[in-house]
Amino acid sequence: MSEVKTVNMKIDGRDVTVPADWTVIRAAHQNDIEIPHYCYHPDLSIAGNCRICMVSVKGAPRPVVGCATPVAEGMEVTTTAAPEVEARKGVMEFLLINHPLDCPECDQSGECKLQNYSVEHGQDHGRFHEEKVRKSKATMGPHVKYWGSRCILCTRCVRFTDEVSGTGELGVIYRGDRSEIATFPGRVLDNPLSMNTVDICPVGALVSSDFLYQSRVWNLHSNSSVCADCSVGCNTRVDLDAKDQIKRIVPRRNDAVNKEWMCDAGRLSFPYVRTGRLQKPKVGGVDAIWKDARRAALDLISANGGANTVALVSAWNTNEAMASIRELLAAEAPASRVYGYGNPVVADQVFPGFTISGDKNPNRAGLKQVLGLDTEGGSNSLKALASESAPIGTLLLVHNIPDFAITPELKAVLDRSENVVLLDFGSGELLRYGNVAVALPTLTSFEKTGTFVNKDGIAQAFEPVMEPVTYGQPETDIVSALTRDARAHTTGVRA
């Protein structure tokens, strides 16, 4: 540890030591002492407006907000004594008096902080018998809708657009209990990070247009994953319904990678799991059983010891897949050559609090580490291969890139190849291109284990979040079966 000044303090009678520049709420949360909060968010500035995080500090005349109170040496804080409990109760009541009782149709229901804190800190009856204030509904942008009446004006979303996305589309309009969140005139909440506002909204005021009315959250089950949409490798939580359909992807906190943010494209990237998949192996464009397809592939790859074989491995493959391919080629086609490729790298989209990588490949760093290949240039990239003109006997194309448009370079290489052995989970343009002799279905990163190395060199392993939706297999399994087949060839023992 570097020189961090710390202070010793007591929270609910527990001695804790925390950095001197922290606030009470952070100190408490760090020590697993829960203090309820709406407007406070560890990655945003302090607003101090919801007033629910009341704590008592010894010596202070009345409860103070934990989010805006700096820690001090010898400070004694209580979070469950009568004054703050009463204060919280009052704040909960105020929050609910104008809040509509539309939980049955609210998307947030089930993961709503108002519901949770109402149970924990609220009262069991209402005393407000007047007419509620009604506010407007609005479509904030392509992915976000706003229910004004549900809003508790915590301004997390406003601070997010000011501080993290830096785009500043949102503001508060009107005054007092007529206040609403709105986009500034002529603006639309369409920045590439807009859906984070849905995550940080503690109530059902900002909801995702994509997830709206798709499922009740208590019918979902969740698994952890890593986003494959770019080289950032955002940690994600994938929510699926009872039929294993992915309903939404939300970020999972990892301060070393993505904090608690994620781009909209990554969240909405999952439809390729269910659509346009290569269901079964194909030989010569016709469905085949795995064994025949493997045999055909092996024959093509190992012809002439691989002298005429070229492998092209994309930066969308896992480290494990790449290592398998390396082993396969070493064993069955030692004379072959390997090249790397991937989605073209464009400029990063840099925001004040987040960067969306322009490298739309999840594992370009892994490609370099495992196979020593690059996609953007150098002697072992697709560019180098495309500049040659010698015909290729067998092209082993390990693809696994969703929504891929064939680049001129890849087209040149395909045109030069006599046969193509394709490993891919999609049944897109590549499969239809013509000279695909054998196609072996693989799995998406949602369906298999693997490891991606992100742009900062952090290797992140992930597990499948769902059962495979095709007859595809992970590359590791395909390769081990291929080598088993090859052994059977040489020993004469039928596998």
């Binding site: 302090i46 607003a47 101090g48 407006n49 919801c50 007033r51 629910i52 009341m54 005349p61 009345r62 409860p63 907000v65 805006a68 700096p70 204060a87 009052g90 704040v91 009541e93 105020f94 929050l95 008096i97 104008n98 005393r127 407000f128 018998h129 007047e130 007419e131 204030v133 508790i152 004006l153 503001g171 508060v172 009107y174 005054r175 007092g176 209990d177 007529r178 206040s179």
Partner: protein, 474 residues
């Protein structure tokens, strides 16, 4: 009128009564009192010329500290002490922000300085800036002050043309810029940090304290925020000395102050009087007593948010910070409103609550939601639709609002409600179901307010046959 010396009174003044004639408002009745010529002819800018670039700033702060001048905006914090809190050596510029967003109902003192004597304020600003070594002052004006804005803006231009402010103020090596900023008509921008947010170009949301403005205020730089009247006082105190200022007032509330008198008096208006005179004297001598045939029901002593004084409390009250605090109220901004015995207190409290509901900025939950709730309940009492227990609910809501927000607007709304409930609870209770009985001659149960309907459904309504309900019950 205002110039008349107060007659020797029976008030227990600890020191000999010194004749007082207005200081800040001395010239406001003269034509063209707002012009530079008029101001220069009466020795204007001489004090600033004498001290800027010459006198040690610390000694000026010492004079103001010694004078005991307390902030005239409402809180009454000692001005010199506040100046002493200004963070030094931060490497950032220091600012002076003068609060002219006078919007507390019942208060209309600063506008007279702004409209009738703007140069007096500017000289105070120059001296204050020299004392706290600030090179940029902002004067924030209430948006409705059109004339005040025009005259202050013109006065700043004149002062600049004369070289009193600018790159070299009075030819000394002291650059000073004065920026006049106008509000857009929000009460909350009169709160010091709300005003700073507004000057910064943001929504007028008050900021969390600490850090206090003296440490991190305008544009996150050390800032002194003072009221217009406070700053106007500075010139006179520096010119005449601390002891001159202390010859009036009480020990803890020295000096004189401008009070605004409104309501059921014969001569409402703006009066500058020494602190410590009795409230009765102020109302009866300066205000000419109550209008014919009326007596005092209550007095709002320091702007609308100050808790009420009953006639008995008025008799005991003197116009200084301590006396009013001891009576559970406050001197505040000095806006005194007299309510006569014919005033319907439910109407008064409803009007008060309507104001705070309208003006809550909406940042903190208790204030945003609580002010609206208070207004709705006050309206029910005003209109006679109240239910038994609503007055208790009002008390509880007001209690839940107090001390739980970033700024004191929630307290400003809750305090009058609490004092009305304390002193006039009978009038609240009288309104329970009154309208239904009196105005319509019908049963209170027939009222079709949602609450009444709910109650009917919950408790059943004898004599009312509800077919649908009856079927269900069977």
């Amino acid at each position: 009128m205002a110039e008349t010396t107060p007659p020797a009174t029976e008030a227990p003044a600890p020191k000999p009564v010194v004749p007082f004639s207005p200081v800040l408002l001395k010239y406001i009745h003269e034509p063209n009192s707002h012009t530079l010529e008029h101001f220069l002819a009466r020795g204007g800018y001489e004090t600033a010329r004498k001290h800027v670039g010459e006198t040690d700033p610390a000694s000026l702060i010492a004079i103001v500290k010694d004078s005991g001048l307390r902030g005239r905006g409402g809180a009454g914090f000692p001005t010199g002490m506040k100046w002493g809190f200004l963070a030094k050596g931060t490497g950032k510029p220091a600012y002076l922000a003068v609060n002219g967003d006078e919007s507390e109902p019942g208060t209309f003192k600063d506008r007279h300085i702004l409209e009738k004597d703007p140069h007096q304020l500017i000289e105070g600003v120059i001296l204050t800036c020299w004392a706290i070594q600030s090179n940029h002052a902002f004067i924030y004006l209430r948006g409705e002050f059109i004339l005040g804005y025009q005259r202050l803006e013109a006065a700043v231009k004149e002062a600049k043309a004369k070289g009193f402010i600018g790159e070299k103020s009075f030819g000394k090596d002291f650059p000073l810029k004065i920026t006049v900023v106008r509000g857009a008509g929000a009460y909350i921008c009169g709160e010091e940090t709300g005003m700073l947010s507004s000057i910064e170009g943001g929504r007028g949301y008050p900021k969390i304290k600490p850090p206090f403005p003296a440490v991190s205020g305008l544009f996150k730089c050390p800032t002194i925020v003072n009221n217009v009247e406070t700053i106007a006082n500075v010139t006179h105190i520096i010119k005449n000395g601390a002891d001159w200022h202390k010859q009036w007032g009480t020990e803890k509330s020295p000096g004189y102050k401008i009070f605004c008198l409104a309501g059921a008096v014969k001569k409402p208006g703006v009066y500058e009087v020494p602190l410590g005179i009795t409230m009765r004297e102020f109302i009866d001598v300066y205000g000419g007593g109550l209008i014919e045939g009326r007596s005092i029901k209550a007095v709002i002593p320091g702007g609308l948010s100050a808790p009420l004084l009953t006639p008995e409390m008025v008799d005991k009250c003197t116009l200084d910070y301590e006396s009013l605090a001891s009576l559970g109220s406050m001197l505040g901004s000095g806006g005194i409103t007299v309510l006569h015995d014919g005033v319907d207190m439910m109407s008064a409290i409803y009007n008060t609550m309507r104001f705070y509901h309208h003006e809550s900025c909406g940042q903190c939950t208790p204030c945003r939601e609580g002010t609206g709730w208070l207004e709705k309940l006050a309206h029910k009492h005003h209109a006679g639709h109240a239910h038994a227990g609503d007055a208790d609910l009002l008390a509880d809501v007001a209690k839940n609002m107090r001390g739980r927000t970033i700024c004191v607007l929630a307290d400003a709304a809750a305090m009058p409600m609490q004092s009305y409930l304390q002193h006039f609870r009978g009038e609240f209770d009288k309104r329970v179901g009154e309208a239904a009985y009196v105005e319509r001659g019908r049963s209170a149960r027939d009222e079709i307010t949602p609450a009444a309907k709910r109650e009917t459904v919950a408790h059943g309504a004898p004599g009312v046959l509800d077919v649908g309900m009856g079927m269900d019950r069977v």
